[in-house]
C-alpha cells in the first residue's frame, strides 16, 4: 500500500464534533515495483552532464545568431560582434546557448503548466483515479519512469513528478540570470535537461487527459473525423475552440451532449485543442491549424470563440470584435483584460455578452464555460448579421506600394493579388490561400489598413467550401504489443526507420510538401507517426479516388502505417516508443536509467523526427528533448531561425568512435546518425537526409542493406547521382544492397574503402562487459 486515507462524515470527541473529516497520508510504505532503482533517479541539472558532453562533442552546436547584441540587463545593450564580450563576460556564442536554454524553458513551461492544470483538474473533479492506459499498455509512462524512477499508478503520483520537474525548471531558469553560467556547452547541457523535463511534462499531460477523459488508449483503429476549412456548417451556431488545453472545450461538448445540441450547434477546434477534442468526442470537427486562426477571425465564422492556452493569436479579442464574435478566455494564461466572470451568475454573464456590454469574459470554471459558450452561440447566431464585404471595393484601396510583399515570408505576391482583385479576378488569391501562414504581418504594414486576409479569404470562399478531409483521431500511446512486434525489425534495421512528422505549419509551400514526404516513407514501408499541426496537414490531400493518407494507410505502429498519435503533448509517446523498444524488446532496465537507454536509442533505434514547419519554443524544446535521447530531428528552412543546430562532421573519423561493449575496444562506426538537429533547405534534401539519419551503428548487415538501398535510391531519384559518402556506411561487403553491388563496389574501390568490424556499440565505458 502506498498511501492511506480515511473519511468520516462525523467524528465525536469528548470536547467537540468534527464534520466531514478527511485524512490523507502520503506514501507510507515502500515500492510495489520490482525493477531496481537505476543510477539517476530525478536527475539534477548536472547528473546527466557527462552524457550531454559526449553528445555535444560529436554533435557540436552550430549557431546563426539573430542579433549581434544583448539587451537583457542595464549594462547593455552590449555589442557582441567581432568576438567582443558583453559587460557580464558572455560572448556571442555563449549568449546563443543562453537564448536556446531560454527558448527550451519557455517551451517546457508551457507544457508543464498545462500538465499541472490537467492533473489538478482531474484530481479535483474525479478524485485520485488509477492510471490505466489500457490492456495493451503496461509501461504506461516510459519517460516518467526513465527520468524519475517513479511508476505512476494513481493520478496523484504525478504531483511528485511535477514537483521534481518544476524544481528543475527553476534551477535552469536561474542559470540564465546575469552572472550565472558562462560556458556554452553547459548552457546546451541545461537546454537538453530542460527539454528532457519537457518530454515528461508532455507525458504527464497526455496521460492525465487520456485517463480523465477516456481518450483512446493506443487504438490503431481510432475513428476517422472531419477536418478542413469546409467542414463547418455556417448555417448553425458555431463555437470554435482555439489552443491546446482541452479542459474547457470538453466542458463545452459535455454541455452540448447533456442538452442534445450536437445536431443544432457546430463545434470545431483549431490547433491541438482540435485534435484532443476529437479524441474526446468524434462528432467534434477539426477546423484546421494555427495558420487559419486569423482567417476564421477575419471572416467571423464563429459566433463564440473559446481560447485556452498556447499558440493563440494574442490579438484574438481585438479581431473578434471586428465581426462581433464573442470571446471566452478560459485559463489564467490568457485573460485579455477581460472581466473575470468566474464567480458571477452565468445567466447575467450571458446577458451581458448578448447585449454587447462586454466583448468577452474570463471564465475559469470549465462547466460555466460550457454553459456560457453554448447558450451565447445559440442565442446570438440568429441575430448576428455579417456586414457584406465588397472584395473589389476593399481591394481598390490598394496603392501598390508593395510593403505587404516585403512583409510576407512566403513570398506571396499580394500586390498582384490586389491588382487582379481590383479587376474582379480572384483566382490568384484563391490559389495562394493555403500557402498563407496567417501571420498577418501584411496587415500590420499596409498604409491604407486594407483587410488583406479578409480579401484573400473571401476570394478563396468557393475553394474553402471544398476543403473537406478525413483524419484519424489521435490514438495516444504505442501499445507494448506493437513494440514487441516491431522492436526486432527496427533494431536490426529491417524496418528501415520510424519517421515522425511533428510540429507547426510554418512553411512556404502549404501541406503538399509534408504529404509528399510522408507518402514517400509510407510507400517504402517505414513506420510513420504524426502529431499536432503536422498530423492535420497530412490529412489535407486526397488521391484521385478522394482518399486521404489516413484512409489509405492503417493507423498502427508498423511498417507502412500512419499513426496519428495525437496533439503536441502526445509527442511524448513517440519518445516513449523509442524508450519502450529498449525496455520491452531489448529488456534494458528502464527505471531511472537515462544514459543507458539514450545510448541504446542513439546506437540502435532508427527514428527521425521531421518538424517541417517548427515555429514555437515548444517545438524547440520537443526537438531538443528527443535529441538528448539520441533521436535526430530535421527542421525546415524556417527552423534555421532557431539559430542553433547540432551538427556532426562526417569528415572527422575520430568523432564516430564507440566502445565495443563486447571487449572494450574502440571502433569507428561511421557517421550514423550524422546530425542531431538539422535545418533542411528543401523537401528533397529532407527526404534523403531522413533516410540517411535512420542508419545506426548496430544495424545488422541485412538491415544496413535495406537502409542503404533506400538512401541510395532516394539520392539518385532526387539528385540524379549516387551519394558521395556511401563508403562511410559500408562496414562489410555484406552491407551493400544487392541491386547496387556493381556500382557501389566500384565506389568503394575509388574511395580506398577498408572493411570494418561491427561492434556492439556504446558511448558508455561502463557498459563494456569484458576486456
Amino acid at each position: 500500500m502506498k498511501r492511506a486515507s480515511m473519511k468520516a462524515e462525523e467524528v465525536h470527541t469528548p470536547s467537540t464534533t468534527i464534520k466531514g473529516l478527511e485524512i490523507s497520508i502520503g506514501k507510507i510504505l515502500g515500492e510495489e515495483w520490482e525493477e531496481k532503482m537505476g543510477p539517476t533517479p530525478m536527475p539534477s541539472p548536472t547528473d546527466l552532464r557527462d552524457w550531454d558532453f559526449r553528445l555535444l562533442k560529436r554533435y557540436q552546436p552550430f549557431y546563426g545568431p539573430f542579433c549581434d547584441s544583448c539587451c537583457l540587463c542595464t549594462y547593455g545593450k552590449c555589442d557582441l560582434s567581432d568576438h567582443k564580450k558583453g559587460a557580464c563576460g558572455l560572448d556571442i556564442e555563449t549568449q546563443q546557448g543562453r537564448i536556446i536554454l531560454l527558448a527550451c524553458l519557455i517551451g517546457a513551461t508551457a507544457h508543464g503548466a498545462h500538465a499541472h492544470h490537467l492533473v489538478d483538474h482531474a484530481l479535483e473533479t474525479a478524485g485520485d483515479m488509477d492510471i490505466d492506459m489500457g490492456e495493451g499498455v503496461q509501461v504506461e509512462a516510459p519517460v516518467t519512469r526513465l527520468v524519475t524512477g517513479i511508476r505512476p499508478t494513481k493520478m496523484s503520483d504525478f504531483l511528485e513528478v511535477l514537483d521534481y520537474a518544476e524544481e528543475q525548471i527553476t534551477h535552469l531558469l536561474s542559470a540564465t540570470h546575469t552572472g550565472q553560467e558562462g560556458n556554452v556547452i553547459d548552457f546546451e547541457s541545461k537546454a537538453l535537461h530542460a527539454s528532457m523535463i519537457d518530454q515528461m511534462f508532455m507525458e504527464v499531460a497526455d496521460i492525465a487527459q487520456i485517463c480523465h477523459y477516456g481518450l483512446p488508449k493506443g487504438d490503431p483503429d481510432a475513428p476517422l473525423v472531419d477536418i478542413g476549412l469546409g467542414v463547418i456548417d455556417r448555417t448553425k451556431p458555431v463555437i470554435l475552440c482555439f489552443g491546446h488545453n482541452t479542459v474547457p472545450s470538453a466542458a463545452v461538448m459535455d454541455y452540448m451532449n447533456i442538452h442534445g445540441l450536437y445536431n443544432s450547434v457546430e463545434i470545431a477546434g483549431l490547433c491541438c485543442t482540435a485534435i484532443d477534442m476529437t479524441r474526446y468526442e468524434n462528432r467534434a470537427k477539426i477546423a484546421g491549424h494555427i495558420s487559419h486562426q486569423i482567417k476564421y477571425l477575419k471572416t467571423g465564422v464563429a459566433d463564440v470563440i473559446t481560447v485556452d492556452e498556447q499558440c493563440i493569436r494574442t490579438d484574438t479579442l481585438e479581431l473578434a470584435q471586428e465581426t462581433g464574435t464573442i470571446v471566452i478566455a478560459t485559463t489564467d494564461k490568457i485573460c485579455y483584460g477581460l472581466p473575470d466572470r468566474t464567480h458571477k451568475d452565468p445567466q447575467e454573464t450571458i446577458e451581458m455578452l448578448l447585449n454587447g456590454e462586454i466583448p468577452g469574459a474570463l471564465v475559469l470554471n470549465p462547466e460555466l464555460v460550457g454553459e456560457i459558450a453554448v447558450e451565447v452561440a445559440v442565442r446570438i447566431h440568429p441575430k448576428r448579421k455579417m456586414k457584406r464585404f465588397n472584395v473589389k471595393k476593399a481591394a481598390s484601396e490598394c496603392i501598390q506600394c508593395g510593403k505587404c510583399n516585403k512583409a510576407c515570408e512566403n513570398f506571396i505576391d499580394i500586390s498582384r493579388g490586389m491588382k487582379e482583385a481590383q479587376e474582379g479576378n480572384y483566382s490568384y488569391f484563391s490559389d495562394v490561400f493555403m500557402k498563407c501562414m496567417g501571420c498577418g504581418k501584411c496587415l500590420a504594414v499596409c498604409p491604407n489598413n486594407i483587410d488583406i486576409i479578409r480579401i484573400m479569404s473571401e476570394a478563396a470562399k468557393e475553394m474553402i467550401m471544398d476543403e473537406k478531409y478525413k483524419i484519424r483521431v489521435g490514438r495516444g500511446p504505442i501499445q507494448d504489443t506493437e513494440i514487441r512486434n516491431v522492436g526486432q525489425p527496427i533494431v536490426m534495421g529491417e524496418i528501415p526507420g520510424v519517421i515522425a512528422f511533428v510540429g507547426c505549419p510554418n512553411y512556404e509551400e502549404g501541406p503538399e510538401e509534408l504529404v509528399e514526404m510522408a507518402k514517400t516513407f509510407l510507400d517504402r514501408r517505414y513506420i510513420v507517426v504524426a502529431t499536432g499541426c503536422a498530423a492535420m496537414d497530412l490529412a489535407m490531400w486526397k488521391n484521385e479516388e478522394g482518399k486521404t493518407l489516413y484512409e489509405l494507410y492503417p493507423g498502427g505502429f508498423d511498417a507502412g502505417c500512419l499513426a496519428n498519435v495525437g496533439s503536441c503533448v502526445s509527442n511524448a509517446h513517440i519518445a516513449g516508443a523509442a524508450i519502450k523498444i529498449a525496455s520491452i524488446f531489448a529488456r534494458r532496465d528502464l527505471r531511472a536509467n537515462y544514459e543507458e537507454i539514450a545510448d541504446y536509442i542513439l546506437n540502435r533505434v532508427g527514428a527521425v523526427g521531421i518538424a517541417w514547419g517548427a515555429m514555437s519554443q515548444k517545438a524547440a524544446s520537443i526537438a531538443t528533448g528527443v535529441n538528448r535521447l539520441g533521436i535526430p530531428v530535421i527542421v525546415g528552412a524556417r527552423g534555421a531561425k532557431y539559430r542553433r543546430m547540432y551538427l556532426g562532421r562526417k569528415d572527422v573519423p575520430k568523432d564516430w568512435e564507440v566502445y565495443n561493449a563486447r571487449d572494450g575496444s574502440i571502433v569507428e562506426v561511421g557517421p550514423g546518425p550524422e546530425h542531431l538537429i538539422y535545418a533542411s533547405e528543401s523537401k528533397e534534401e529532407a527526404i534523403v537526409m531522413a533516410a540517411k539519419l535512420c542508419i545506426r551503428p548496430n544495424d545488422t548487415t541485412k538491415g544496413r542493406q535495406i537502409k542503404l538501398a533506400h538512401y541510395i535510391d532516394l539520392h539518385k531519384r532526387y539528385f540524379g547521382v549516387y551519394p558521395d559518402d556511401i563508403h562511410l556506411y559500408v562496414r562489410t561487403r555484406a552491407d551493400v544492397p544487392i541491386t547496387e553491388k556493381d556500382t557501389v563496389d566500384k565506389i568503394l574501390e575509388e574511395k580506398g574503402w577498408k572493411e570494418k568490424s561491427i561492434p556492439d556499440p556504446t558511448l558508455l565505458e561502463r557498459l563494456v562487459r569484458g576486456k
Partner: protein, 164 residues
C-alpha cells in the same frame, strides 16, 4: 544605408557593405581562394558556374541542372558546407589546398541564407558576399534589394566584370 529585405531582419551592429556588380567583381577577383555556395532555389546556374574558380558547391536538388551544363560541382547541403566554412582556418577546402577566404552565397530562401551568413559572420575567418536579389545584412558584402530585372542585369554585369 541599405535595409534588410524583410525589415524585421535587423541583426544590429555589424551589417553588410552594399556593393555594385563592379565592386563585387573586384572583391571576388582579389580573394586569394574563393568558393561559390549555391542553394536549393538557385535558377542562375550559368552565372554560378562562371563565378566559380574551381570551387563550386551546389544544393543537391539543383545538381542535375549543373550536370546538364557540363559542370562538375560538389553536391553538398548548405548547412554542411557552411559548417565546414565555419571551421575555415582548419578546413583545407574541397581540394585540400588550404582555407577559403571568400565565400559567394546565392540561391537560398532569404531567411535561411541569413542564418548561414550570420554563422560565418560571427564564427569564421572566411568573408562572405551575397549576390542574391535581396540585401543580406549578415554577409560581409551584399547586393542591395533589387527588382527582378535589375538583379538579372547585376548578375550579368558581375559576370562581365569578372571576365574583364
Amino acid at each position: 544605408m541599405a535595409k534588410p529585405y524583410f525589415p524585421g531582419n535587423v541583426p544590429g551592429i555589424k551589417t553588410a557593405m552594399v556593393v555594385t556588380p563592379e565592386q563585387a567583381a573586384k572583391i571576388i577577383k582579389k580573394a586569394k581562394r574563393r568558393i561559390v555556395v549555391t542553394g536549393a532555389q538557385l535558377r542562375e546556374v550559368d552565372e554560378a558556374i562562371k563565378l566559380a574558380d574551381g570551387a563550386l558547391v551546389v544544393a543537391p536538388n539543383t545538381f542535375p541542372a549543373f550536370k546538364e551544363k557540363g559542370a562538375e560541382p560538389v553536391l553538398m547541403n548548405k548547412v554542411n558546407i557552411t559548417n565546414l566554412l565555419r571551421d575555415a582556418s582548419k578546413w583545407n577546402g574541397l581540394d585540400g589546398k588550404g582555407p577559403y577566404n571568400l565565400a559567394i552565397y546565392m540561391g537560398s530562401p532569404y531567411y535561411y541564407e541569413s542564418q548561414m551568413l550570420s554563422c560565418l559572420k560571427h564564427f569564421s575567418t572566411c568573408k562572405t558576399i551575397s549576390i542574391s536579389r535581396f540585401y543580406q545584412p549578415n554577409a560581409t558584402y551584399s547586393f542591395d534589394n533589387l527588382s527582378e530585372k535589375k538583379w538579372e542585369k547585376a548578375l550579368a554585369d558581375l559576370v562581365k566584370f569578372m571576365e574583364e
